[in-house]
């Protein structure tokens, strides 16, 4: 008994820690224009490649150092978080919308539509995530909106599969049959009764996917196929530091730590949510 309580406490504590990390980084990003100590885009050429803690000539410190153009890394990370986190949320949000709608319709309608969507999903799943996104970004060119399309193009499949299988299981549940017998329209059946029941599972999965999308952004921007510099995103800053690894390790190191903390926080939070909302989903899930 004691061990179970300890386990629950521990689980909650980890989820809480995750939430703290996510909220802290999220707030930092949201408030970046007001709290960033320096301009993220304009550097001072007299302060290039300064190490963390360097105090500038104007007296204001560069807590995490500066890059090759004399821009403050901390300010760039705060502003970059706006882009990286927003991308994660938008991509997962769009994918959730598409995946839940198609998943419900597919499960309810069955037949031809379900079969066609099933094949489409099979084909999309055959492409490794990063390869597919890289190919699409090569096609679209860099930019925030292009990234959303390139990532959501495959991401919706995750929600679709979870929702479809849940909805299939519920399709003939007593409460659905009862409501059908009572004369509810198919629209009402799907978007009221089924939706409410599949949503918790979909939300849990979505939470676990935000971090993944942030990681993808970093990879793509690192290759020059994501966010376009000079606009900062976490991936862009890491890429900018790559040529200075020998002289200025801090440029690439700190944005990576920001990514790590955010993704870890998101995963802890998602795990906690999963345990709380939907214990049936408590299986090991691969990120691909």
């Amino acid at each position: 008994m004691r061990s179970r309580a300890w386990r629950a406490f521990r689980r909650h504590r980890l989820a809480l820690l995750g939430a703290i990390a996510v909220v802290a980084l999220g707030l930092g990003a949201a408030l970046a224009p007001w709290i960033a100590p320096h301009d993220p885009l304009r550097g001072s050429l007299g302060e290039r490649l300064r190490p963390p803690g360097h105090r500038g000539s104007s007296g204001s410190p560069y807590l995490l150092g500066t890059d090759a153009l004399g821009r403050d890394i901390l300010s760039r990370i705060l502003h970059g978080g706006r882009v990286s986190i927003a991308l994660g949320l938008v991509v997962v949000g769009v994918s959730l919308l598409i995946g839940v709608t198609l998943g419900l319709v597919s499960a309810y309608a069955g037949g031809f539509l379900d079969a066609v969507l099933g094949r489409v999903v099979d084909v999309l799943l055959a492409f490794p995530y990063l390869v597919f996104a890289i190919a699409l970004m090569g096609l679209f060119g860099p930019g925030f909106l292009n990234l959303v399309v390139a990532l959501a193009f495959k991401e919706w499949v995750i929600a679709y599969r979870v929702v479809r299988s849940e909805a299939l299981a519920l399709k003939h549940a007593a409460f659905v049959e009862a409501s059908r017998a009572a004369g509810a329209s198919p629209f009402r059946l799907v978007f009221r009764h089924l939706l409410v029941n599949v949503l918790p599972g979909a939300v849990v999965v979505a939470t676990l996917r935000v971090g993944w999308v942030v990681l993808m952004e970093a990879s793509l921007s690192f290759l020059g196929l994501g966010i376009q510099p000079p606009q900062p995103s976490w991936g862009v800053i890491i890429a900018e530091g790559r040529d200075y690894l020998f002289r200025a390790w801090w440029i690439s190191t700190f944005p990576g730590i920001a990514i790590f903390l955010f993704v870890l926080g998101m995963n802890l939070l998602g795990d906690g949510l999963r345990d709380a909302l939907d214990p049936r989903l408590a299986t090991e899930r691969l990120p691909e």
């Binding site: 096609l139 290759l223 990576g256 299986t283 691969l286």
Partner: protein, 339 residues
Amino acid sequence: MAGYLIRRLIQAIPVFLGVTFVVFLLLWLTPGDPVEILLGQTGPITAEEIARIRREFGLDQPFLVQYGRFVVRLFRGDLGTSILHRRPVAALLGETLPATVELTLFAALVALLVGVPAGVIAAVRRRSLWDMVGTVVALAGVSLPGFWLGLILIVVFAVNLKALPVAGRLGFGTGLEPRTGFLLLDALLQRNLPALQEVLRHLIMPALAMSTGMMAMTMRLVRASLLETLGQEYVRTARAKGLPERGVVLRHALRNGLLPVVTALALNLGALLSGNMVVETVFAWPGVGRLVVQAIQTRDYPVVQGGVLFYALTFVVLNLLADLSYSFLDPRIRHGRGE
């Protein structure tokens, strides 16, 4: 078994066709004329020249004809010709493949060597400090950008400690003759121990950078699966017979517990193979990933097309193998629900 095999193979056909179609479509839609890009690199050319190149690459044909030719050529193993290198894409892929496979398998080995024992310890010492540390470390492992870890490793081990080489597969002056393309194998075959050491020194950082995710997943999978089998009746029976706990865990529980792990890992190998694109770029590893990334940056369409196709088909084949291995190991699957 044969029936199941055939059924799965037939199911793979539409996926295969869909994959080739999407790959073809991707590059057909690409803005910018490949001929112009070619011209940009070779200087001024006449209009007849342009027309000739268009014919040569079949770019003057309608969409479906181009797609049809693409699939037919595929079956002959012809992936087209690189615009940049002026060489067959299949040859370029063939040359870079061993480097990628070697790195991927080595990374998988690292992941298993750490992940399986860690998972076993976490399951056996459930709810201990080990278990908790393992859980958090595993979550951290999947939360790390692999290429960033690669950069950090470079800073620590190459720049500061000067203990490991920054990039590449092999330094100069080892006297190693590349024959198979798998340098570890070459070094072993030629009994060249200094070269073997060199190859390993080059492998370790990129492999480590790639393996964290798989390591973490292996650990969590082994833990979960072992916990389940440890609760089974036959394990209780084995214990009741008075068998030593070590034997019960390793022989009875782990052997059965590894079943789902095998499948998941085979699936993961595909993810690992493609996830290494960025890591290869970081370490200037002359593999398929770097080839494709460079091709995208230089708009060398045929190479991109070939590379993406290569990744997708490898992924499909690995999935199929994972499915088959699972059904081979667990007869309930092939005899049970045949959808």
